[in-house]
């Protein structure tokens, strides 16, 4: 690992100032992604700003809005009674990610900020537009089994690896941000970006901005929810394809539906059109299959990842069936 200076600010303002005044400085929260990347030489910040002493570790419910502080650990969120009662989908996605040791370190803010697991991004001897803009994309003509089927560009076909974010985009969460110019709120679906011509930018967080927490609005999805994660081994692996499904069913009719996918795009992939096909319908396999077909209409595949399209369709049907059966 490169050498770096280290500060542990006592206040949020001091943390934001410390980042703002130093172009290569980075926040460190759990460290599970940042230190991994630094050991590989992918990142070499000259200063780390340890935010762990900031009072951003809390889970509260006010006016039916759930607030989760940015430093709340993935394991704490997964196990919290308010989360399990009001947003069980969030608990499920978190338990499907990483290992208990990592969840005991990984924070809510850090999880959103984690970088892609594209192996070329990690290998500093290979061209990669995300790591070194303009150097090329090794994955497009290389091994791209893990890569995107939606929303990719000719600059980058990487996927966002987070499980947590799939539930947050499905539940219409809001990201709370504090920065040099004050506070702002970003709808979760607009937080992460598609690669376009700037694959080095994973999200819309500005320089010096600190995620302080997330808010999840009241939702009817407290019962019929399911997260299906398809991966190369039974546990402790990133998704090939994952589906978060949430249904609001009454009198055998779907009143509300949320669908989002992981492992398929540069950002958590919400399936709005597929959701619409379900409203007013009965929860049958045929209707789920129609939603799955609509969901994958815009898919585009590369040499090694064409399997993801039927896998995505089947996963959508299975996740909806499991959600409906709870």
């Amino acid at each position: 690992m490169n050498q770096f200076s280290y500060v542990r600010p006592a206040s949020q303002q001091a943390a934001i100032d410390a980042i703002t005044r130093d172009s290569s400085a980075r926040f460190i929260a759990g460290g599970t992604n940042l230190l991994d990347l630094m050991k590989n030489g992918v990142l070499a910040p000259e200063k780390l700003v340890d935010i762990n002493r900031l009072p951003l570790k809390n889970i509260t419910l006010n006016n039916n809005i759930l607030h989760i502080g940015a430093l709340t650990l993935n394991s704490e969120v997964a196990a919290h009674p308010l989360v399990k009662t009001h947003h069980p989908l969030l608990s499920q996605v978190l338990l499907a990610g990483a290992s208990q040791q990592l969840r005991n370190m990984a924070t809510t803010g850090g999880n959103m900020m984690q970088r892609t697991r594209c192996s070329y991004f990690y290998d500093i001897t290979m061209p990669c537009n995300k790591r070194t803009p303009g150097s090329g994309c090794s994955a497009i003509g290389g091994i791209n089994r893990m890569h995107a089927i939606f929303g990719a560009s000719d600059q980058c076909i990487a996927v966002h690896p987070s499980d947590m974010c799939i539930a947050l985009v499905a539940l219409d969460a809001t990201v709370l941000v504090a920065g040099p110019k004050g506070n702002r709120r970003i709808p979760f679906g607009e937080f992460h970006r598609l690669p376009g011509n700037t694959p080095d930018k994973d999200n819309n967080l500005g320089k010096g901005e600190l995620i302080t927490g997330i808010e999840i609005p009241h939702s009817p999805f407290t019962q019929n929810v399911y997260y299906l994660k398809v991966r190369d081994r039974a546990s402790y692996a990133f998704a090939l394809v994952s589906v978060a499904a949430a249904l609001d069913i009454s009198n055998n009719t779907i009143r509300g539906a949320r669908l989002a996918m992981g492992g398929v795009a540069h950002k958590p992939w919400r399936l709005h059109e597929a959701e619409k096909t379900l409203i007013g319908k009965s929860p049958t396999a045929d209707n789920f299959r129609i939603a799955a077909t609509v969901a994958t209409q815009s898919a585009r595949t590369y040499q090694h990842n064409a399997f993801k399209v039927p896998m995505a369709q089947n996963s959508i049907v299975t996740a909806l069936q499991k959600a409906a059966a709870v």
């Binding site: 280290y6 460290g31 230190l35």
Partner: protein, 212 residues
């Protein structure tokens, strides 16, 4: 509680020099900031709780296996490297060094974590337990006993991490069934494939109602 000898005799004793250097670094970065940013920023920077410069070691205190330590550590040293290289607590193993295998599992304030992916300086004021701290004198911990009884290892390299993880898994209440044990022990890879026996060992301790 005994006080461990200071890790780097060359640095902490000479506190004056150390602090002078720190002041210098603070000053020089403040000067830089002054040149580039409005005065407000410089003022806020003074509230920094702790600061260590590029090549500077910084003081860290923590409790490891019940002993208080006052250490001097470079910011880039991981907790795993501090334990193994500086303190010679080599029971905690380095497998992958990237959070992928669990060999480095220790408890921090009672929670299991991968010590390879956290900095030692981030553990200021924390209580660390390593495999060396599990037994009570000559009496092995029940999970250690059960691993021996059930052949929960072959080469033994993953074992300290497996045992630290297993103790936490039982304490967390995640050892209710073989399926649950497998899921919540999935962060510990065993190259020798001793999984069945590890699950058997954990199940026995859990069902035996031992206090772990």
């Amino acid at each position: 509680m005994s006080q461990a000898p200071n890790e780097n005799p060359s640095c902490p004793g000479k506190k004056d020099k150390h602090e002078a250097r720190r002041d210098f670094l603070k000053q020089s970065s403040a000067l830089m900031a002054l040149a580039l940013t409005p005065p407000l920023v410089v003022k806020a920077g003074e509230h920094d709780e702790t600061i260590a410069g590029l090549f500077e070691k910084m003081p860290v205190s923590m409790e490891i296996n019940g002993k208080a330590y006052q250490l001097s550590v470079e910011p880039r040293v991981t907790l795993l490297d501090l334990l193994r290289e500086q303190l010679h607590l080599t029971g905690t193993k380095k497998g992958c060094d990237h959070g992928q295998c669990g060999a480095c599992t220790v408890h921090v304030n009672g929670q299991r974590i991968n010590s390879c992916l956290t900095l030692a300086v981030m553990q200021e004021g924390k209580k660390i337990t390593t495999i060396e701290g599990l037994a009570q004198g000559d009496t092995l911990h029940p999970v250690q006993e059960a691993f021996i009884k059930h052949d929960g290892f072959q080469c033994g390299y993953c074992t300290p991490g497996q045992i630290m993880s297993a103790v936490a898994c039982i304490r967390e209440g995640h050892a209710g069934s073989p399926e649950e044990i497998r899921e919540f022990m999935s962060g510990n890879i065993c190259r020798c494939g001793a999984y069945d026996n590890i699950v058997a060992a954990i199940t026995e301790v859990k069902q035996g109602g031992h206090t772990v």
